[in-house]
Amino acid sequence: MSINWYLAVSATVFCIGAAGVMLKRNPLVILLCLELMLNGANLSLIAFSRMWGNGDGQIFAIIVMVVAACEVTVGLGVIVALHRRRLPIDADELRELQG
């Protein structure tokens, strides 16, 4: 298979994720769509790594996974804290995040 096909799938997944981030209001689903965007980028990285024949792109993809895991833990912690304070779980209502 040509690398082109993988890049097309990657771009499609990335754009679906971007549309979801803009459309959705539930912060949980926004985090899920961020995961989609990161995974689209990961697929590109692995495809380019295969294209060049060395493993640097795979290391980059693993680091992206680590960063995604950190983002998920902190984001879900924020959502749990919002739920504890009886705030609405809604990105439009949460325009002010102080204290």
Binding site: I62, I63, V80
Partner: protein
């Protein structure tokens, strides 16, 4: 064979991604993302990145998605429909912007006529994509990113615990235990001897009475 597997995995990945955005219930969105991640792992295997595919299944589809499922069931997934977006212009602008981004990415990756891109890639080394190669790269060439990533994970774990822990003053006001109200005063429990509730009032009045009567007698 490779082509068939690629199209199965690619359709699965794109269908999973669409499901994340389209499905109303966040729980179903998480399950759809799991399907997407598994299809993506198959694509990684086709690109001969075995270790990354294994990490994708174990860490992403296993651990991170379990965390999501826990939080969705804890928060109680409020299914806010897409139609509840405040401004109707955003509903039109967001897919339009995403489509423009898609066209731009396609032009950038496919339309530039990079001859190298349209190839199948070079002949690979024998240990390409195996844990041996990944480990060697992580501990030699990419040692600094590896260490920074470990620190980042530590900071994120501590931050998540700080954010999600139960704080005093934020929870609901303390409700008195029903047993303490039902019990009559002066039954000699530990709570009363520690000086709480009804018992303190009744003993205070009783001692007042006793001192007054004693003074009368004296």
């Amino acid at each position: 064979m490779v082509e068939i597997l690629f199209f199965i995995a690619a359709i699965g990945a794109i269908a999973g991604a669409v499901g994340v955005v389209v499905l109303e219930n966040p729980f179903y969105s998480v399950l759809s993302l799991v399907a997407h991640l598994l299809s993506l792992a198959l694509l990684f295997l086709l690109l001969e990145a075995q270790f990354v595919a294994a990490v994708q299944v174990v860490v992403y589809a296993g651990a991170v998605m379990v965390l999501y499922v826990f939080v969705v069931s804890y928060v109680g997934g409020q299914n806010l429909p897409i139609r509840a977006v405040n401004s109707p212009s955003l509903r039109i602008a967001a897919p339009l912007f995403a489509f423009c981004l898609f066209v731009e990415l396609m032009i950038a990756t496919l339309g530039t006529g990079l001859s190298a891109i349209s190839s199948e890639g070079p002949k690979l080394a024998a240990n390409y994509g195996e844990p041996e190669q990944i480990g060697e790269l992580l501990l030699t060439k990419f040692l600094l990113p590896f260490e920074v990533a470990s620190f980042l994970l530590l900071i994120a774990a501590v931050g998540a615990v700080m954010l999600a822990r139960r704080r005093r003053g934020l929870d609901e006001p303390e409700v008195p235990a029903p047993l303490g109200l039902l019990r009559p005063a002066g039954t000699g429990t530990m709570a009363e001897s520690a000086g709480g509730g009804f018992f303190r009032k009744s003993t205070a009045s009783a001692s007042d009475d006793s001192t007054s009567t004693g003074r009368d007698l004296g």
